[in-house]
Subunit: 216 residues, 2 copies
Amino acid sequence: MDGRAAENVERASLGLALLLYDNPVSGNCYKVRLLLAHLGLPYERRTMDVVDRSNRREVLGELNPALRVPTLVLDDGRPLAESGAIIWYLGDGTRFVPDDAYERAQVLQWMFFEQYDHEPAIAVARFWLAYSGRPEEFADRLPERIAAGERALTAMDRHLDGRRFLVGDALTLADIALFAYTHVAHEGGFDLEPYPAVRSWVADVAAEPGHVPIDA
Amino acid sequence: MDGRAAENVERASLGLALLLYDNPVSGNCYKVRLLLAHLGLPYERRTMDVVDRSNRREVLGELNPALRVPTLVLDDGRPLAESGAIIWYLGDGTRFVPDDAYERAQVLQWMFFEQYDHEPAIAVARFWLAYSGRPEEFADRLPERIAAGERALTAMDRHLDGRRFLVGDALTLADIALFAYTHVAHEGGFDLEPYPAVRSWVADVAAEPGHVPIDA
């Protein structure tokens, strides 16, 4: 039995079949933790630094081509990367992914929107301002990200006006994916006051049974 | 019958159940066109300008929260946005999406990697240099995108070394998604010579029966 196999047996004996390479302040990691909490699945967390990335190749080199967190390792040692792919793997077949083909595609639409339009603006501005330790280095690039984040929040607000959740009438992976950085957007310098439908949705997602905060 | 319903009836009578808001040089649109060609599905194309975006709100405002192409309208008028969500909707249940849950998640992993790491580097550099009409305006920001694109190509090359396709042993949506901008990366100033596994994969994807080029 090699090292990883022995480790898997030990984790399984503790009821920890899933291993999450994680960072406590990363919204991308929080998506996975929030879904795991809703699903009641036990897992082990291993914290990776998001500022000092010097050990990424060594730790994640064989697990994640992009060398990022979150990275999930299944009970048989197989790795999975990208927050969207991880939550789809864990969530498909549960109440967080609809059965209808069009609604499934709408969930993915919002998850791709999050990774392409929302995260690169709101998560990046938040990292620069609140977690990088050197916000002054990014000051000249911040306005572009703020403008892009405001466009993303405007798109969400238009869609959520008159709706309780992003797709259908219940919480899905789309809400979990977009809640992660929206609810901490103020740390990136965003004011949610102009987006009443977004604020109402944030409150509704946080009030769902099984919800856990980002710092749980 | 309102205007859109009448239009849908007319399109259906022509065998054009699907309407694609498209741009001929957009790799994101090409992903959809390439999959539709493999699937043998007829559709109507409506070209949107990718430089002059002044009519986006008017045309796409009720169809796509991000006001981008591709946007697909189904035969019943329901819209779908984000290239990844569109090709998942069209491809799930066909040979381009595996049945196995882990392989399905791997396909999504590469599709999210494409939208987060690959497209914002390679597609953006290509747009700036070859299609924006004002490449000099972006010259100072180009090196960062080139470096990011080279990291994405390196990640692909490491993974493809010893593999014919990105997931499993046949063409999937992951290959279609990543082929779109990789095979025209030279237009963004990228040289594929240092990535032999990527070059071999590009040739294999283009040699698949049913393949169509980006300018078809």
